[in-house]
Symmetry: C2
Subunit: 203 residues, 2 copies
């Protein structure tokens, strides 16, 4: 950030009064430019136990499979954003059943909000950002060709919940360490380990 987008003067890094962080501040008109994380809103579109996935046509991770999701826009709710992205990326109409996963990705300043949803008809097709759209049953999910850790974690929770017979909110953080990504479950979690089928109730 070099220039004030209001008056065109030079931007400096400064700590405003009563603030504990350096901000981009205009050296002439003193406007403070705050930067904040963005919400990625999306759907888990289900039909008779199958999930609708999109093959990405754009970077990052072009050619890999994902759930329909994208940046929430101004003047909409997170649910409206999830519905819009599902329509844009998969030309699919869904009914939203509930908020299912809230994952922080602090390394890219994103918060994913994924909604469980029910596909309303079978007239889905690839949108401009997708190469392909297809319904996958649990044993067909292309686990090694999923685009993002958030998508993998969302689908893992989905199938674990389905086995237990109860869907509930999941929260957590995707942490980047070097080139690797790991998942840190939030305090809402009762599942501690996916490699076993044991469900552990946290204290």
């Amino acid at each position: 950030m070099n220039y004030c987008s209001e008056c065109g003067a030079e931007i400096i890094l400064a700590r405003p009064e009563d603030d504990n962080r350096l901000r981009h501040v205009c050296s002439a008109c003193n406007i403070i430019y705050y930067q904040n994380p963005k919400i990625v809103a999306g759907c888990i579109p289900e039909h008779k136990g199958k999930i609708l996935l999109c093959k990405r046509a754009i970077e990052p991770r072009s050619g890999y499979w994902t759930l329909p999701a994208g940046y929430m826009e101004l003047d909409e709710t997170s649910m409206e954003g999830a519905l819009r992205e599902t329509l844009e990326e998969a030309n699919a109409r869904v009914e939203i059943l509930g908020l299912y996963a809230v994952f922080n990705l602090p390394h890219v300043n994103q918060v994913y909000m994924m909604y469980r949803s029910r596909l309303l008809d079978m007239d889905y097709s690839p949108g401009t950002e997708s190469l392909d759209v297809a319904l996958y049953s649990e044993n067909e999910i292309p686990w090694n060709d999923l685009a993002f850790t958030t998508i993998r974690q969302t689908l893992r929770y989905f199938y674990a919940d389905r086995e237990v017979g109860q869907f509930r909110l999941h929260t957590g953080d995707i942490i980047k360490q070097g080139e690797k990504y790991s998942f840190r479950a939030g305090p809402d979690e009762i599942y501690d380990d996916y490699s076993s089928s044991t469900i552990i109730q946290r204290p």
Copy 2:
């Protein structure tokens, strides 16, 4: 927005290729400036059935009571943001128990994420943005002097859940119509009416 913050050239409103919205775009270097909603992260700090509220020292709604909450910052998770705001506004340390309320406020492009939490000690005091901080039991809550509809709705759900004996996620939207604000419950809700004590399971 008048000037490009990277090169200083004039900003125009234009619809980028493969986009369906007008964006602020630089007329010289073609950078697109996206604008997106912000997350407000906060806590419901509980101690023996009482809730810690802060009396606001800043506008908007200076002098009115609120839960500790504020804009999520870059490089932090929503939980870290909620903990930080609770420390900054109430000098209070809490343990987060779980994500409790996710409310959209499309008229101000905010998404509230409120966490249930347990006060870890009694050494709370007003931060620079608070005039006072105090623990309130249910029958002491200053319902007519609460700062925001989001706070009122969060506390309503909290006490309704406490009566039932089970806390669960709540979602919804605060809708501004003229000068009035109303609450539209999300698909996660099972409570349809707070004026009665009846709990209605939605279809």
